[in-house]
């Protein structure tokens, strides 16, 4: 069996991964992720109006249009409304980006106050227009982040212990490297590309990457075990065995990855903006897991498998019982042997 060209390019894949992960770690340390949807710093323009005085829906609509008009010259990140139960006042809020100038902010506040007064919308009703500089205390989430990272690590290690028991320690070692790689690679991509995400989301994306990585790697492992159990393929060396496994699993991985990407893209495309911000970027971890399973994983597993095969050959057990596959092959060759 001829070793496929992509498998000979381990240094290239390692170089790509190292470059992305190192750049990502540096950016993570310096800039962190782009958590702009969580508005770490922003300005808030708040308008409260007294609802104890009867205000017609038309006047409320007019009030909102006055606010929208005054905010026309600045970028508004989002707007919300509510009810202030302490002051018994209706509440409108407009979030402006942190780079809004002080002059623009004052001008917006003054214009809203002046326009409302000029329109005589709320005669007799109290109205309050305020602006605030708001800074989020991101530190609140640090416990959930470090615990999440520990949880993911422990989960993946336990998953790989299972893989180690079922498919061999070599498969578990490569799987661990791939899961760690995919999680780190995904986080790095988010740090580098500055894709806006919620504060909690990068860890979830890393988890999605690790889960897909495990699933894709399991597909390889299954084919590798088939090769090991097949008497005709048992003599294959590490490179050939990995190539055989790749041949049998790459289509499944591509189809699964494509389906995963399509699902997140379609769901994200239809969903509301806030949900889309989580679903759309989830295509990245799936793509990363597919890349590592198709290119990096097999290339990495060749030396790992060779080393483990060598180790196994050196430490052969003294007693060799007939393996199931051999027995089955013999039974097939000799029909007179009774089935057990």
């Amino acid at each position: 069996m001829k070793t496929k060209r992509p498998f000979k390019l381990l240094p290239v894949w390692l170089a790509i991964s190292a470059a992305v992960i190192i750049a990502g770690i540096i950016l993570m340390c310096i800039l962190g992720f782009n958590t702009s949807p969580d508005r770490e710093k922003s300005y808030l323009v708040e308008v409260r109006y007294d609802v104890s005085v009867q205000i017609s829906p038309e006047k409320v609509e007019k009030l909102e249009s006055i606010c929208d008009g005054a905010l026309g010259g600045v970028k508004v990140l989002d707007e919300n409304e509510g009810y202030d139960s302490t002051l018994d006042m209706a509440y409108l809020s407009y979030t402006l980006p942190a780079d809004t100038s002080a002059e623009a902010l004052t001008s917006v506040q003054d214009k809203i106050t002046a326009d409302i007064a000029a329109a005589e919308l709320l005669s007799g009703a109290e109205i309050r227009v305020e602006s605030h500089a708001v800074e989020s205390l991101g530190g609140l989430y640090y416990e959930s982040i470090w615990r999440g990272a520990v949880a993911l690590t422990v989960g993946v290690v336990v998953g790989l212990i299972y893989i180690g028991v079922r498919f061999g320690v070599g498969c578990a070692v490569t799987g661990l490297c791939l899961a760690a790689h995919d999680a780190a690679f995904t986080l790095s991509l988010f740090a580098i590309t500055r894709i806006p995400t919620y504060f909690y989301a990068p860890l979830l994306f890393a988890t999605i990457a690790a889960v897909f990585s495990l699933v894709f790697w399991l597909l390889h492992c299954m084919k590798l075990r088939d090769a090991k159990q097949d008497p005709a393929l048992r003599s294959l060396d590490a490179a050939d065995a990995v190539a055989y496994a790749w041949e049998g699993s790459w289509k499944k991985i591509v189809i699964l990855a494509a389906a995963g990407i399509a699902i997140f893209a379609i769901a994200g495309g239809i969903a509301a903006a806030g949900v889309r911000l989580f679903l759309m970027p989830a295509v990245l971890p799936v793509a990363v897991a597919a890349y590592s399973s198709l290119l990096l994983g097999p290339s990495l597993h060749i030396p790992v498998k060779a080393a483990f095969d060598k180790f196994a050959a050196k430490h052969k057990p003294r007693y060799f019982g007939k393996k199931k596959a051999e027995k089955a092959a013999e039974a097939e060759a000799d029909p007179s042997t009774p089935e057990t």
């Binding site: 919300n80 509510g82 309050r128 379609i266």
Partner: protein
């Protein structure tokens, strides 16, 4: 299994799935009275407050949450200052009020209390504010409320946002004023608050030497308790201090944080146990209220730095306003999420019907079983909410289920094309793929459940849903899918055509 038995099984499976679908998705009129409608299960499941959808009595629930603004003592907003000033009559009082406050940015500071001679915020005030900020952060962090947010506004005001889940609507709103209490914990004993004297701690000692901490407990009847645990020194001192209650008939223990009493506990005998289980018979604690009270006492008793080391005198945060906000993602985010799910469901079924013909019905039954069981579990497990990430977890598990089904079908197709009978092909397909499917599901479920056990909030919710759905997916593929295939195949003589499996030379004609 014969045709008749298969027909009975298929009819039963259809009836069960139809009934469950009805319960899960269809609203039924109740026929008058105070209840006008039975809501389907999907509306009972808690939703992420950000998603927003109207339901509940008179559409009372709309997602969103509560936004509270807390100002340190001696600080008010510029707008409030302006309003107060405008409402005052011209005169000495107004002049004094105007002179009392100095505006810095959007805040007005009581100059005498919080500003130095140069009109700058004093270092003591900054220390007080930072202490309050850290305590508030610690307390809300311990509450582990998903979607919670704490902001600093204008440098010296705190804004707390807690989401409103349908099951906890309003439950967290009480935490705003409770957690605003700053200062050290003190236990006083006496017949009334005015005459009560300090029981714990002893002069010159810290409360941590007497109170281990606080937690919550729930008894079999569902009553929630705040449990305060004392050290042996605390137990001895409290027993000695409350010993004379037997002679006086009754007394009250006042648990104070700073100057404010957070628990008043009437006792009729001396407190000699190392733990106090406190409930409120007249107005029972909700689970959230008991937890908040326990966290307040625990964080105050075990504060790394007592308030008395940071500042002298009294200090607390004042609750300025509580705004009930609408859902962050808009009112229709949940509806769009359902539409997205519907579109993906239709695409999935279209693929299965086109590629596998009538075998698509087997997948339909299998998937509906998976979906309905998942929905019922989401409803029965109170800590699961419908959110963007639980939605993602269900989508991932659906992908796992569909891929596993397709994996089995393709293997069966291969066996069938190779010349095996349909029943042998199906049997061999499941036999040869069983461990593959088992491994895939068990690894995903295992990783997910372990992650759930350790992680917090969003990741924990995502991991639990993924683990649960993987489990159901595995059961659905290996048990339900196979069973449905077996019984549905009994009704056709052209089994190859039923599954859209084609042999190269010979048309399917076996039984």
């Amino acid at each position: 299994m014969g045709k008749v038995k298969s027909a009975i099984c298929l009819a039963l499976a259809t009836l069960i799935i139809a009934a469950l679908s009805f319960i899960c998705f269809v609203a039924l009129p109740a026929g008058g009275g105070s209840i006008t409608q039975f809501d389907p299960v999907v509306t009972w499941i808690d939703k992420d407050a950000n998603l927003g959808v109207e339901y509940g009595a008179n559409d009372s629930y709309r997602g969103g949450g509560y936004l509270a603004t807390l100002y340190p003592e001696g600080v008010i907003s510029a707008a409030e200052f302006r309003d107060n000033l405008n409402s005052m009559q011209e005169g000495k009082e107004k002049t004094e009020y105007a002179e009392r406050y100095t505006q810095i940015g959007n805040l007005c500071f009581d100059a005498e209390e919080n500003l130095d001679a140069e009109g700058k915020v004093t270092e003591e005030f900054v220390n007080k504010f930072n202490y309050a900020k850290d305590r508030l952060t610690e307390r809300y962090e311990r509450m582990n409320i998903e979607g919670f947010r704490l902001d600093v506004a204008d440098g010296y005001a705190l804004r707390v946002f807690v989401p409103q889940a349908a099951s906890t609507a309003g439950a967290y709103a009480s935490t705003f004023s409770l957690f605003a209490n700053m200062g050290d914990l003190e236990v006083q004993f006496g017949s009334d608050e005015a005459s009560a004297t300090t029981a714990l701690p002893a002069t010159g000692k810290s409360i941590g030497e007497y109170v281990k901490g606080a937690s919550t407990a729930t008894d079999g009847a569902g009553t929630h308790y705040v449990v305060i645990n004392f050290t042996s020194a605390g137990q001895e001192r409290l027993a000695a201090r409350t010993a004379d209650v037997a002679s006086s008939g009754s007394g009250t223990l006042f648990f104070k944080v700073g100057e404010n009493t957070v628990i008043s506990l009437s006792i009729t005998s001396a407190v000699e146990d190392d733990s106090l289980y406190i409930s409120n018979p007249s107005s029972p604690f909700s689970a959230e209220a008991a937890e908040a009270l326990a966290i307040l006492i625990d964080t105050t008793a075990n504060a790394a730095t007592p308030a008395s080391d940071v500042y002298d005198g009294d200090f607390s945060l004042n609750l300025d306003s509580v705004v009930t906000m609408r859902a962050l993602y808009g009112d229709s985010a949940l509806v769009y999420m359902y539409i997205a799910f519907g579109v993906l469901f239709v695409l999935m079924m279209a693929f299965f019907f086109v590629r596998y013909g009538l075998l698509g019905f087997v997948h339909l039954y299998t998937y509906l079983f998976f979906l309905l069981v998942t929905l019922l579990c989401m409803w029965s497990l109170s800590f699961i909410t419908v959110s963007a990430y639980t939605f993602a977890a269900v989508l991932l598990a659906s992908l796992l289920l569909s891929a596993s089904q397709a994996f089995v079908y393709e293997r069966a197709r291969k066996e069938y094309v190779a010349g095996k009978t349909m029943s042998a092909a199906v049997k061999n397909a499941y036999k040869s793929t069983f461990w593959h499917i088992f491994d895939l599901h068990i690894v995903v479920a295992g990783v997910s459940f372990i992650t759930y056990a350790i992680a917090l909030t969003h990741l924990s919710g995502f991991a639990f849903m993924l683990g649960l759905c993987s489990l159901f997916s595995g059961i659905s593929v290996l048990a339900i899918g196979r069973f449905m295939w077996m019984i549905m195949m009994r009704f056709t003589t052209k089994q190859g055509k039923f599954c859209n499996f084609k042999r190269k030379e010979v048309e399917d004609d076996e039984d």
